[in-house]
Every structure is written in C-alpha cells, then in structure tokens.
Symmetry: C2
Subunit: 334 residues, 2 copies
Amino acid sequence: MATINDVARIAGVSLATVSRVMRNQGSVKPTTRDRVLRVVEKLNYQPNALAQQLRTQETHTVIVIVPNIGNTFFHKILLGIELEAEKNGYQVLIADMHNEPAVENYYFNAIQQHLVDGIISLSASVAKSLMNQVASEYPIVVACQYIEGITPNITIDNVAAAKDMVGHLINLGHRRIAHLTSNPASPLYRDRFNGYLAALAQSGISVDLGLVQYCEPTINGGFTAMEPLLELNEPVTAVFAAGDTMAIGAMKRLKKAGLHVPEDIAIAGFDDIEISAEWEPALTTIHQPKFEIGQHAFSKLLKLIKKEPLLQTQEILDYSLIIRESCGSNRNKQ
Amino acid sequence: MATINDVARIAGVSLATVSRVMRNQGSVKPTTRDRVLRVVEKLNYQPNALAQQLRTQETHTVIVIVPNIGNTFFHKILLGIELEAEKNGYQVLIADMHNEPAVENYYFNAIQQHLVDGIISLSASVAKSLMNQVASEYPIVVACQYIEGITPNITIDNVAAAKDMVGHLINLGHRRIAHLTSNPASPLYRDRFNGYLAALAQSGISVDLGLVQYCEPTINGGFTAMEPLLELNEPVTAVFAAGDTMAIGAMKRLKKAGLHVPEDIAIAGFDDIEISAEWEPALTTIHQPKFEIGQHAFSKLLKLIKKEPLLQTQEILDYSLIIRESCGSNRNKQ
DNA sequence: TTGTATGCGTTATCAG
DNA sequence: CTGATAACGCATACAA
C-alpha cells in the first residue's frame, strides 16, 4: 500500500506538498499539483485514515447503538440519522447490541478510545453511573429512550400519546380495556402505562390490574399475553398494547380463538412500525416521527461535537394517532 | 483525556512499562504493575485505539455492507456474523447503503484507508472492476449475492431451490404458474428465474412469458405486479414469487380481489423472512440458512485476513423447502 | 510556492 | 525487569 512518502518521492516533492494537494489547502503551483495527482492516481494512493484521525483528533464518524437491528422500529430512525450525517460529512456506523445490555458498555468504550466522535444510543440500558461519566466528557445523545435526567435526548411524550390512544378507545365506548406492556424497568413502558392509567382516571373508570399483562415486546409475547385475558369472566372489549408487535401477536391469538377484530374486540398498538399498515386488519396505533427523531438526534449530537451550545437538552417531538381498521373506526382510515 | 505518558509520569515509570502492563505482556515486577494499575484506574486511562491501530496495523474490526437495513432478510445473517466475530475477538460495524449503490463504493474505501481489516458485502452492487481491484488486495467476501467469478462468496443454490419450489407446485397439480421477479441484472433473480424455467421444462410445460412480472422486491411491488395477472383470460392457479415480500404483496392483492389463498390460488415465496411464518395464511417458501451464511462468511473473511489458505472460494449452503399454508398443502405445516 | 521538523499515542526493538 | 528510542502515516507551524 502506497503512503504519502511514496507519492512524494516519486513525484519529486516533499510530503508536505502532497498533503497540501490531497487536502486542497494551502497554495501549490498548478504544474506540481498535476504532477502529484498523476502519481497519486498511478499508485492508487489513499491516505491512511487512521493516521489522519490520530493527527487531527477527529474521525468524522459517529456510532449508533441499536438494541436489536432485527426490530424494524429502528429503521426509519437510522435513516434519519444517516441522511443528516451524510449532509454534514459524517459517517455513521451501526452497532447492534442483539439485545445484550453488556454490548452497549462495550461500544461506549469506542468513544473513549477515540474511534468515533460521538454516540447516539437508542438503548440507554447502560448503567446510570457509566452513562453519567461518559456523557460528562463526550458527545452522547439518547433517542427514543432515556435515563431520567441524563444526557440530551429526543423522544415523544409517551404519557400523552398513550393517554390519547386510550382516550380514543374510551370515546368509542370501551370501558374494559386491557393493557399489554413490557419490562417495567423501562421508562418508556412506564410512561405508556401511566398514560393508560391517566386516561382511565380522567373518565372515571376504575383500574383493574387484572387487565394488565406483562410480556416480551414481540409477536409471540403478545400472543401468549392474550391468553389469560381470554379467560376472564367479564371479557375486555379492547386491548391497548404498548408496542405494535405485541398488538399483532394479540390479533393472531384472537383469530385463533375465533374472534374478529375489530367487531368482537378492538386492538390498538404503539410505534407504527411498517408491518402495522400492511397487516389485516390494519393496526390503529401511535405514530412516532421516526425519521425526524433520527435527524434531530444527529443534529443535537453534532452540536455537542462542535461544542455549540444546546438550546434545549431534552426535545419532545410530536406524535400522531393513526386510526386504521383494528379499532372499528375505519371511516377515518388513513 | 489521559494518555500513556500521563500514566507513566504519575506512576514514575517509563511509558514502555505502562504499555507492558496494559497488554499483559513482557515481564514487570508485581509491585510496579500494581502501582501502574492504580494510576490507570485513577485517571480512567483508556489506550487510544487509533494510535494502537496505526502502530499495529490491524483494527480487529470488520465492516459489513448491507443493501438496506430495513430489509429483515439480513438480520439473521448479521447475527451470524456478529456472533462468529465476537468469538474471534473482532468487532463488526454495519454500514447501511439505504439502497443507494454509490454508498457501497464509499465504504469500500474504508478498507483501503485501513479503518477495517476486512469487508463482508451483502450487496455486490459495486462495479466489477472496482470489486476486482479491491478484492485482489484486501480481504473481502460476498454473501447471498455474487458477481460472477469474483471474490469468495457464500450462497445457496438459487437455481435448484427455485426449481424445487416450482416442482412442488407442479406436483400439487398446477400448470399455469406465474413468476414474480425483480431486477433482471441481479444474478440472484436470474438464477431463480432459471430455476422456474427449468422446472417447467422438466415437466414439459411450455413457458408463457406473459405470466412473468417484474417488480420492486417489496410488498407494494408484489401487490401491483399481481394486477395484470388478475386480468388474464386464462387465469393462473399459482404464483411463485422470487422473494417473500413480493409474495405477501401478491396475497394482499388477491384478498382485495376477493380471492382466497390457497383455495383459489397458491402462493409461494423465497427467503423465509420472519414475517412469512406469522402471516395468515403462513407462507410456503424457501428457507435460506441465514445464520449459517453469516457465520461462514465471517470465518472465510477471517481466513483471508490471516492469510490462511481458502479451501473453496465459493461455498454453497443447503436450503430447505418450508411448506406452510399458502400452497394448500398444510398437512405438512411446519 | 515549497520544504523541514515536530508531534499525534501507541508498540516494539534494543540496551542496560 | 526496565528505559530509551525509533517507527506507524499523516498534518501543520515555521522557515526558506
């Protein structure tokens, strides 16, 4: 592999000159520039990025930590990040935790080792203390998730969104509304649960914790979580799942039980992942502005990297209620 | 950020000694080791990986180029790569092309710039000449795709798999079988098309190119590609889609037309993506051993990196025919 | 307009 | 067992 020295020697100039033409910076006589360029081409010289980065102390690379690349929820977010990064001359690398919390710690080291200029975490499953320590020294932003009171983050108002959704179900006449949720340690699921409770409270509906099921946030999780609800003496008429995959799992279980959605029971989800619009019946859900979340996350990170002041450390984006078929109000089907 | 020099100075030793204790290599007196370690901890010293990599000329990192991270087909492959890499002390970074061929070129530079030790491409959409040039100098393996006669690659036998699937349909009594395919420039789709043709030929069924539709390999693509087939004078009784997403799109279109799968028409897909098993009716398809493809791809790459000899440059893994509901043979439902 | 020299933070080769 | 010192490949301040 050719180095800058090889080019310099063959072109008969100093390596400083080669450096100048490579970076289009400083002044160099057109004729010598041409001579250098010809050698560069002949040798297929590519600057060693490692050396450049070591020298300049910046990598123009950010890493985004994804809990599980298999979760389609993250795709549009990634796209938002990527396009925004591209626009600003940054490279984005994706690190897949494949759902193992330990992996996040591992990638947190990447920044302490100068391999990247910043981190966007879509997980925040790292210990609060480590997050604190790293975030105080390096550019980090968290999106879609958050650890209370730490680091800049981008989310929607999960409480309000869940409350809206359950309010919608109540408006449709439902009184016995089940809730499918997941890991109670996650602020996200806690917020959505709180929204559910708030909506019930507002309508004077008393809470029945027997209608709340905890499960894995997957199709299969929703499927099995639906079973105890089917055996209730007084059946529920609606289910609010804190994630679309759980909602789809619930629908599959209902179909197996010979029940129809939305005629026999209404189902609502959360997130608006791609398959929700394709599923039959199409799922009523909360749309998160994923692409924008991604864009904002990168913009915020970039400000951190460039040490520009952050106007607001926490950013709340707008969600929207997407009414499709699964709640029986398909007049408004989008 | 503390450097090795800071540690050395504060611990009252030379930086060579610090390097030794960090790498657990060479001999150093237990007491000085302890002294160094204490300082390391106090300063929270982390070696600068950039400098290490520049010095040692290896990054222990590989990059995998994914055509579109939103395509769930790739997830298990990534998982296979990641676990195999982890086992060998390598880090894997994912580069998302978001379906823009130009992006692959961009990441091909990463290796020429010494940022990674090797590349696994799941795309192979780069120009043959560039692929040739880079592959001749650097460790690269292609999986699931291939450019004829270049670089080590891992695939299944797409021709045989498609032929098997269409053979299955023929065995079920079908004679008029449509084929949904995509970009004819892709060897993959060409192979599957050839398999389709081979199966017809073997059974003495004459080919009717009017039954072949080209479309985007998406749900929507399959949906619209189904329309002309619906208007045929002599309708088809089965559809073989060269990808599961197209198959699902076709099913959605049929449902809209009031037709039932598999009673009115049989549908078969290819790839066995996750949603295919969940869809109702569940899709009959060709299973690609994605996890193993990922593992083998990394192993092969590692041999390339370590300059070990490659026994076979091209590796063909076993596929399997997964019979579910969409072809009406649900006796064998898996 | 060009060249020289220094340093980025390591590892590794020598001596001692 | 430990310490100088020379690379690794580049960018840049300073001279010329």
